[in-house]
Symmetry: C2
Subunit: 517 residues, 2 copies
């Protein structure tokens, strides 16, 4: 662990306030490729702006992979992350070839980073885009949904992935989205789900959103179905401010929005956990231009601005952000943006007279030279002063566990692998062998009811969901009855491949009806 | 059942070929709102162009809902659909209030319509759009994926939806996409999945795509991850031709692409099944302008063109399509497009001199007057002559069932509802009560391994997946062993809420490892 941010600047920052103790320790990693250059430039701007941070460095990336650490990070580095709880990370190179795990996935899972935060902003006319008014933030749930990676091949023909949506997962991400909106001066949060189809899982996300929105009367709250929302985003992005959404939708939306800004080289992002938060650029390590001092430090710098807001240093965050906007307005660019500018003739002249592209350090110096200035064309950025130094970690309890519901077992879905029989024949067989107390209620195939009363045109796979309930209206089902049913079916040669209990929670059925039921 | 297409035109079409028997019976429904007007106009154009179809009419929509048919269709109408196997459907109005089922969902499920086909085309400069070169077709799987509607609340905190992807489902939709591309003169099919995350389910879709692409050397085949693909679609739609994708992604992409064309009023769509196919406009019944004769018949007309291609009448389909393009080029519009045109000064002049908007019938007459003409600015449309009258139903076997794999049971995932214990304590308890022959291999929470060797920061819900395998390396597991394990856990008071068998198929494990395993 060594501290290798420019020492003179660090000392200067500390001395100028005569309070060396207020500096917030942060973990930084210089990464691979252009990483070291842009990290140097970024830290230089932070120090010049008076950020009260004390960086300590860890090694990650290529060297670590090659030293045999399959996730690109050494075990002792976790100590620094757990101590500082704030991680500013430059891009890394994952060596080609198998056996290497994604460092980001490892960090996200290990430290429980539940929120991926991706601001997407257009900088027209300085960066060419069809959507000059795009200025929004995607807050994406990062831990659950279909990305829990629970997949099973169940029959010859059928493969399954579990989509899990949890109340704590929803509460944490929705709470974060509203807290983020407030801290970042955003006015509206749009929730997107597909709850007209997935009434229970996406329905929970939407319900939690509505519940929590009530705590933020200063923030406008709205919900859109994801297909319509995505179409609006792609055509009228100026309608949006903050978007909060489950993992998969957020993955798709954040790539759409970033691409629409015209440059993915200017965007930072954050991964937020209850214990640790990580800040970075969204671009990669660009090994082809590494070491030449020409890389654009903007993505990492804006990631660092997010970090400063996160740790409550909102004034210095705004100061850097506004200085950076001034540099753009002055037509200053790095090589990556030269192909981007200028836009069509007749628009603002800055781009037409833009000087030769600046190198990484020169661009950083240009930002430093503008510290304290306000942008003229872009809106001045301001961040709401947080009430505590680590605002977003503590202003609201992210999740309070509730007392357990009264759960009652009302039946079971037995999933059967069977290729030769019709639904009618399968039903007959199941009825014959199921023990007293149980009644077969319906059979579905890919969700469509095929017994009783199916349609001849329904194509049936070899994967049948057979719903059993108590044979009498007031019959009580216990878990032992399910064991007995599974045993009886098995003894009769029925190939039971999975089960799903049917429960009521506080009297409300916790399962969907079959389509056509 | 009455035949009420303009009788003189029908007779004329029949007589002009002296072959009244070659007319293909089709079922038509005039629907609600503007439905009757645009259906009249559409059939008039079809007959004038020499389409060899014999429409028979069924009633659907508002009147049927109000007569107590909860799906908006009378039982006897299915006879017509099953006989003609081709359905040209005008938009309907679903009455407000609960208890009404979607007619489209009912028809899709009843008749097994596995493919939703949505051509999206920009008509710049005649319709304003930011994407003048957009011309693509989304072929969306329509029966499975997360839309099977199988959801369960499993614990106090956790809700689950099953994503099912099947080999027959993948083969049918991918086969259809390539056949469609060939019949419609399309050159490339792009498959989009998220198989870097969902390696088994989306992995199957991608694998089937690669397998089938080999049968179509004349069509370029490519695959994109859905997030990147959606971002490309939203920014550079001209990169795409035909896109084939699972249900959820297709839902999102088709709304994005339709919106990007600038008008959803000009698009038709098809829902294709093995037995029946349905063709319609993508817009609704617009009750506010019903009966005034001002509605644009273009969406339904282009749906009818898709129908003609589907039944092998490709020449007359192209004739109508080209005449319609000529009408657009001549600046002819209906009222809905008047706000849309003209685009910026300096582009093609047609729009600037466009006459007053035409009514529904006058627009149809204008198309009829242009039958036989080729467009000058737009590319002339041509459809490949199909080898049989019902090309897309029969040129390739959609799915051939394979012999069963050799399936071996290698373990089981027991899902447990438990809120008070740590992973360590839960593991101890499970190990204590599991019968001889079983070993607890791991526990995950939301997919992240928490035992053995979890991380202190991992947030745990009350929903645990506990993976059991044979205690000895060569131990054989049977379904009866699973019943015994479930029984033993139940007797010990463990709340088992679901099971998933772990199987190998022909020696290949049919389950994913835990994240961190």
């Amino acid at each position: 662990m060594k501290n290798d941010a420019p020492q003179d600047l660090l000392n200067q920052a500390a001395q100028s306030h005569h309070q060396p103790d207020v500096r917030v320790p942060i973990t930084v990693a210089y990464g691979d490729g252009i990483g070291p250059e842009i990290m140097d430039a970024t830290l230089k701007v932070l120090m010049a702006a008076g950020a009260q941070v004390a960086p300590e460095t860890i090694e990650i990336g290529e060297k670590l992979y090659q030293a045999g650490h399959s996730s690109g990070i050494a075990p002792e580095s976790w100590d620094s992350l757990r101590r500082t709880r704030v991680f500013l990370k430059a891009p890394i190179t994952t060596p080609s070839g198998g056996g290497y795990k994604s460092l980001n996935v490892t960090i996200r899972k290990t430290l429980g980073l539940y929120a991926n935060v991706r601001p997407c902003v257009s900088y027209a006319p300085f960066v060419a885009t069809q959507h000059p008014k795009l200025n929004l933030v995607i807050v994406r749930e990062n831990e659950e949904d279909l990305y829990a990676g629970i997949e099973h091949r169940q029959t010859d023909e059928v493969y399954q992935c579990l989509k899990l949506i949890t109340r704590p997962g929803c509460e944490k991400i929705v709470r974060y989205a509203f807290e983020y909106a407030r801290a970042n001066g955003r006015k509206k949060v749009t929730c997107m789900t597909k709850d007209n189809i997935m009434k229970m899982t996406d329905g929970l996300f939407h319900k939690v959103f509505d519940e929590m929105a009530a705590d933020y009367p200063d923030i406008q709250a709205e919900h859109m179905i994801i297909d319509i929302g995505a179409a609006r985003l792609a055509t009228r992005p100026e309608l949006f401010d903050v978007i909060v959404t489950p993992n998969l939708y957020g993955d798709i939306l954040s790539d759409i929005a970033a691409e629409m800004t015209g440059s993915v080289g200017l965007a930072g992002s954050a991964n937020i956990g209850e214990h640790v938060a990580m800040f970075e650029a969204i671009h990669g390590s660009a090994p082809d231009i590494a070491g030449r001092g020409v890389a654009n430090p903007s993505g990492l710098l804006l990631g660092a601005v997010m970090m400063l807001v996160h740790i409550g240093q909102t004034e210095v965050a705004a100061k850097i952000h506004n200085a950076w906007l001034c540099a753009l307005e002055d037509g200053l660019t790095t090589a990556d943006l030269q192909g981007q500018t200028p836009p069509a003739a007749g628009t603002a002249g800055a781009a037409n007279t833009s000087p030769a592209p600046l190198g990484t350090q020169a661009f950083a110096d240009a930002v430093i030279a503008r510290l304290g200035r306000q942008p003229q064309q872009f809106k001045t950025v301001s961040y709401q002063q947080a009430s505590t130094p680590r605002a977003l970690e503590v202003t609201a309890p992210l999740y309070v566990r509730r007392p357990a519901s009264h759960k009652t077992l009302v039946g079971v879905d037995m999933f059967v692998h069977q290729s030769a029989l019709s639904a009618e024949d399968l039903a007959g067989r199941l009825q014959q062998c199921s023990p007293t107390g149980w009644a077969l209620q319906m059979i579905t195939n890919r969700g469509v009811k095929v017994w009783p009363g199916g349609y001849p045109e329904t194509f049936c796979t070899d994967h049948w969901r057979c719903r059993f309930v108590a044979a009498t209206e007031n019959g009580v089902i216990t878990q032992r009855d399910i064991v007995a049913l599974m045993g009886a079916l098995t003894d009769a040669g029925v190939d039971v491949i999975k089960t799903e209990n049917l429960c009521a929670f506080d009297g409300v059925n916790g399962f969907a009806l079959g389509q056509g039921q």
